[in-house]
Symmetry: C2
DNA sequence: TTACTTGCAAAAGCTTTGCCTTACT
DNA sequence: AGTAAGGCAAAGCTTTTGCAAGTAA
């Protein structure tokens, strides 16, 4: 595995991200970091964010999936996303509406819905791996 | 509110989506639907998917958010997304690892993690609305 | 000195949009 | 007939990538 280096850019990008609770976009991080490195490029921000996420230093929300998937079933249900093949499965878990009550209690927000997704290796891929 | 019309295109797009359990992408739906309407355009697929999702007929996964957000806190936790202002908040709800056990049980998959997000109106926006 | 990183700019990939035509109701 | 919707193609946006130069280790 390739080793990584701690550059000035990476350090500042990480500092910017750690210093806010706002879950910023790459572009916001870029603009903030440019206050310290005026000629920083957006490509560098993306490269570092991806690397940091891969190392587990930060979390990428929205899972970088660059495109939407659609589900013909509008009734709320949960999903399993296979990290190997990318397939998305419906789960036969009952929807837990009480989670929304808890979320409302701790946040004070008016909750209108929730999404629960599991990530892992699906049955199909597990079998293939065992054969390797 | 604008009224909507049931066109041949929309009907077939919906049929394609309802006839699979695979959570397809817009492009896959496009290719399938083209088997029945060869000169269908991708723009039409997107327009209809967006309209159907808005009407609650179908579900859009990944929430169409066209960009990723990053979180400097790599420790698992849950989020609240405000549907009004778009802000993302960390929730002080304990992470429920037992959900993964249940998901593994019903799916047979090897679960490596999960994501739980709540959607609604945050405290901040609730106040603003009351003032209106 | 080695090879990972950066800046820059171009390319890529998904989605939206403008415009004129078609066709539901 | 009136107007939402379609087809096509261009534009928009976020993210990735190729390449030469820079710089951690």
């Amino acid at each position: 595995m390739k080793q990584t280096r701690m550059t000035r850019q990476k350090k500042i990008i990480l500092e910017v991200l750690r210093s806010t609770r706002s879950h910023p976009t790459a572009d916001w991080i870029y603009m903030e970091a440019r206050k310290q490195i005026p000629n920083l490029s957006l490509g560098t921000v993306y490269r570092n964010l991806n690397q940091l996420a891969e190392m587990g230093e930060i979390l990428e929300l929205n899972y970088g999936s660059s495109f939407s998937r659609f589900d013909g079933n509008p009734v709320p249900h949960y999903h399993l996303v296979c990290e190997n093949c990318g397939r998305v499965y419906d789960l036969e878990l009952p929807v837990m509406h009480q989670l929304e009550t808890s979320a409302a209690a701790v946040s004070g927000a008016e909750i209108r819905g929730h999404r629960l997704e599991f990530y892992g290796i699906c049955n199909h891929c597990k079998r293939e791996q065992y054969q390797q």
